[in-house]
Amino acid sequence: MTVQTDPKDLAVHETPPGEAHARTSVYVYEAPVRLWHWINALAIVVLSVTGYLIGSPLHSTGGSGTDNFLMGGIRFVHFTAAYVFAIGFLARLYWAFVGNHHARQLFTLPFWNGAWWRELFGELKWYLFLEKEPKKYVGHNPLAHAVMFFVITLGSIFMILTGFALYAEGTGHDSWQWAAFGWMTAIFPNTQGLHTWHHLGMWVIILFVMVHVYAAVREDIMSRQSIISTMISGERMFKDNRP
């Protein structure tokens, strides 16, 4: 959490240099960030579908038990996607240290910065139709930034902690998972609680994804900057030259 907010996180006011063209672009999201975004999105979809099916399994299969491995398969896919998700998160964290300024945004929250809060409410007003025009941002707008920090940064950590603690129950007390995450059972002595919180965490993330995808599409159309293509090419294009 930085006390001093980097001006790069706030709205763009000055007209970018090299002015002649109507549109300017800035390179914002480096390849590793974009790659992580899409891998992570896919992992979350897979985790949510398989996770839901772990909680409420498909209708019973018949036949011989030896020929079937449906539930085992679903759980295997969940755990594989879980490793992708967890390792991806660590890789993204690493990139926050070595990547550009915008790679750090996800992991920092300019909580003590008044200007940032004012702009956050400004963005909220834009969504409530109280503002005629949104501000321009090179990185995430403050509202998106805050939601991403809480749901994705803290949320991922929560899902990894609860998920691996559940996983450790299966791998057993001799496993590294138990050594690393077994302490979670001190917080949830009855691991039914772990299941419930892990499950609720999924719904929080699903709510985020619904709003996030809607906002991405809407802003792509209505804001003054490119959105969806930015997460593909990394280039942020501004649609006008006004501050």
């Binding site: 909680g55 007390h173 077994g182 002595p189 299941h195 609720l200």
Partner: protein, 359 residues
């Protein structure tokens, strides 16, 4: 300190053959997961070590732990398990009563200071100065604290002593409190279960006698040898779970075929106990084998964790009956409707703006 008879002296006096005795030692070793050579060590300990004096006190409880204990499966148990320890005080099964019984308690505390084990069945209610459970004319809390003061270690028998169990279920009017929250300066061994399995109970005692120390405990204070795996990890219906073969309704085809009881609310996946390996009543059966899901009786607060017959735990904080999926789906529905409305309003705004700018 008075010379105590050994366990071996006692059983020989009771006419039990050496052969039977050695058999018991091998079985005890096996049940604790020790190598066969350890049977010799157990036998040696039983022959040479004085029996451990045990005080067995009863708080708020139903006596199912005692009922279980005296049914320990091995043939020797009914005669001998109770002789393995020197059970100096246990109001449920001792002949003495009243002042005489209380004197026995006092006598052991005085004579074996720091060398006896305090076994607690049930728990103390703390509300109203402990008036909800009176033993020998005084609140049980006082007897518990008094007896624990000079004990070597405390064993919390059953879910009552370990976690609180039914009398501590919401709203817990008597403020029934598990033993480790009242006795904080002694090692407390939790042997949860409602009741705990007899062989697990005798196993814990045998271990302490043999090795002269407490068994290794897990994070929750339970002996690792019996509580380090879930019912689900060793359940004989597990292949059906992995195959996705579930009982969908009581008495359906799956129930007859012995499919997995996960969808019927089985708590095996979150319950640490030895039922699926040791089983009950001389290894005859255990709940899942008889067609009913595990209810998680050895887990913390199992009475307050929703229905025994639902897979997803009830969440009561919302006043109405809910679980994670019901809450999540409701929230997602609301969010979806909000998004649709917002999108419609956005379209209107854009259309208006478009007209204004005449683009």
């Amino acid at each position: 300190m008075a010379a105590l008879e050994t366990f071996y002296d006692v059983i020989r006096r009771q006419g039990i053959s050496r052969r039977s005795f050695l058999k018991f030692c091998s079985l005890a070793a096996a049940s604790m997961g020790l190598p066969p050579a350890m049977a010799g060590r157990i036998a040696h300990a039983m022959e040479t070590k004085p029996r451990i004096p045990v005080l067995w006190v009863h708080g708020l409880e139903c006596t199912c732990c005692s009922e279980s204990f005296i049914r320990s499966a091995h043939p020797l148990a009914k005669d001998v398990i109770l002789s393995m320890i020197s059970l100096d005080y246990d109001p449920v099964i001792m002949a003495a009563a009243g002042d005489q019984a209380e004197a026995a308690l006092e006598d052991t505390i005085q004579r074996y200071k720091g060398n006896y084990i305090l076994a607690v069945e049930g728990n103390p209610p703390l509300n109203e100065d402990g008036m909800f459970c009176i033993v020998g004319g005084k609140p049980f809390t006082e007897q518990l604290k008094h007896a624990a003061k000079d004990a070597m270690a405390v064993i919390s028998w059953g879910s009552c002593a370990s976690w609180g169990c039914v009398q501590a279920a919401h709203p817990n009017p008597t403020q029934a409190t598990p033993v480790h929250k009242v006795i904080t300066d002694k090692p407390v061994i939790k042997v949860p279960g409602c009741p705990p399995i007899a062989e697990v109970m005798t196993g814990v005692v045998t271990y302490m006698l043999t090795f002269g120390r407490l068994p290794e405990l897990d994070r929750q204070g339970r002996p690792k040898m019996f509580y380090s795996q879930r019912i689900h990890d060793k359940c004989y219906r597990r292949p059906h779970f992995d195959a996705g073969q579930f009982v969908e309704e009581w008495d359906d085809e799956g129930a007859r075929k012995g499919y997995c009881l996960y969808k019927m609310g089985c708590k095996g996946p979150t319950t640490y106990n030895a039922c699926s390996t040791t089983r009950w009543n001389e290894g005859v059966s255990f709940p899942i084998q008889s067609g009913h899901g595990c209810i998680g009786c050895s887990e913390d607060g199992f009475w307050d964790k929703g229905s025994f017959y639902e897979r997803l735990t009830d969440i009561k904080q919302f006043g109405i009956e809910a679980n994670a999926d019901k809450i999540g789906m409701t929230a997602a529905g609301v969010a979806g409707a909000a998004i649709a409305t917002h999108a419609a309003l956005s379209a209107v705004k854009r259309a208006r703006a478009g007209k204004g700018e005449n683009q």
